[in-house]
């Protein structure tokens, strides 16, 4: 462990997030980019904090090492360093710009979101083993590990970017229904006016919260299921 590692990661990701925010502002305007950022922070803060509280991993490997009482990172959102959440924003915004606007602009949202999820997963295949090796975070649970990283983490990366891409596409830049939430949204917010351009902030945050609960439940049971399989087979 090098005591400079958490500082390097934290400062670097704050700078990268600022860079991506500026890029997003140039394309979509500061307001939409700000909502994109707020949504990304909410989308990931809930899941990350749940995972930490549930004993999946910890960000406190450097706690007290630099000086007594210093938790290892400067800025926190609950039990999760802010730079982790900003990292999710960087990947989500980058994937959105690349696959929605540039590479797959004529394809359906599902195809774009799938490519974005795979792109983020590819980044994590490089990043997570390096971060784990540096103890920027430490995995405490999870079976079927690859380079120290449990399998459900990689699945989670794909799902989180895929779903956030879909939410953003259908509420922030356009207004389109989501079949699974259509009736509930119609009762809560009235009939969807598809002709009206986004952002539809009520549906944006509603979809984040509802889908977040589903994702947390899915990953929780997936992790337990994989642990069960590992115990039975290995």
């Amino acid at each position: 462990m090098n005591l400079a590692s958490p500082g390097i990661a934290e400062v670097s990701f704050i700078i990268l997030a600022a860079l991506v925010f500026y890029a997003g502002s140039k394309r979509y305007g500061a307001f939409r980019t700000g909502v994109f950022l707020a949504g990304a922070l909410l989308w990931t803060a809930l899941l990350e904090n749940f995972a930490v509280l549930n004993g999946g991993y910890t960000y406190y490997a450097y706690s007290g090492l630099i000086y007594p009482g210093y938790p290892g990172y400067l800025f926190w959102v609950g039990m999760v360093p802010l730079w982790i959440l900003l990292g999710w924003f960087v990947f989500a915004m980058a994937a959105y710009v690349l696959f929605h606007d540039v590479l797959l602009s004529k394809r359906s949202t599902v195809v774009q979101a799938t490519a974005a999820g795979l792109f983020a997963l590819n980044i994590d295949l490089m990043m997570d083993p390096a971060a784990t090796g540096n103890k920027l975070w430490v995995w405490l649970a999870g079976s079927f590990r690859t380079l120290g990283v449990p399998l459900f983490d990689f699945i989670g990366w794909f799902i989180l970017i895929f779903l956030y891409f879909v939410i953003v596409s259908t509420t922030l830049f356009d207004t389109r229904p989501m079949a699974v939430l259509g009736r509930a949204e119609e009762r809560l917010f009235g009939t969807l006016d598809a002709a009206k351009p986004g952002p539809d902030l009520r549906r944006f945050f509603f979809r984040i919260v509802v889908l977040e609960v589903l994702v947390i439940a899915f990953l929780y049971y997936l992790s337990n299921f994989l642990d069960f399989i590992a115990r039975s087979v290995l």
């Binding site: 860079l19 979509y28 960087v90 590479l103 590819n122 120290g148």
Partner: protein, 73 residues
């Protein structure tokens, strides 16, 4: 889900270079972290070398390069 066709957003190259730079920045950050914080590059029985980082990031580089070329047309 009703996911017929994506909306017609801004399709020019504004910001694409910065986004690609940030993705390359992520790569550089973790290369530096590997060098300063994990010099033996050993996790369990597997070696996480700089070579691994470079090789596994090749698809990301390719995607970014194609995006840059398309955005500049």
């Amino acid at each position: 889900m009703d996911m017929a066709e994506g909306p017609s957003e801004v399709k020019d190259g504004r910001g694409v270079g910065l986004v690609v730079a940030s993705i390359f920045g992520v790569f550089l950050v973790f290369v530096v972290l590997q060098l300063v914080g994990n010099p033996d590059n050993q996790i369990g029985s597997l070696s996480v070398s700089l070579l691994y980082s470079v090789v596994v990031y090749i698809p990301v580089f390719v995607v970014c390069a194609i995006a840059l070329m398309k955005a500049r047309r």
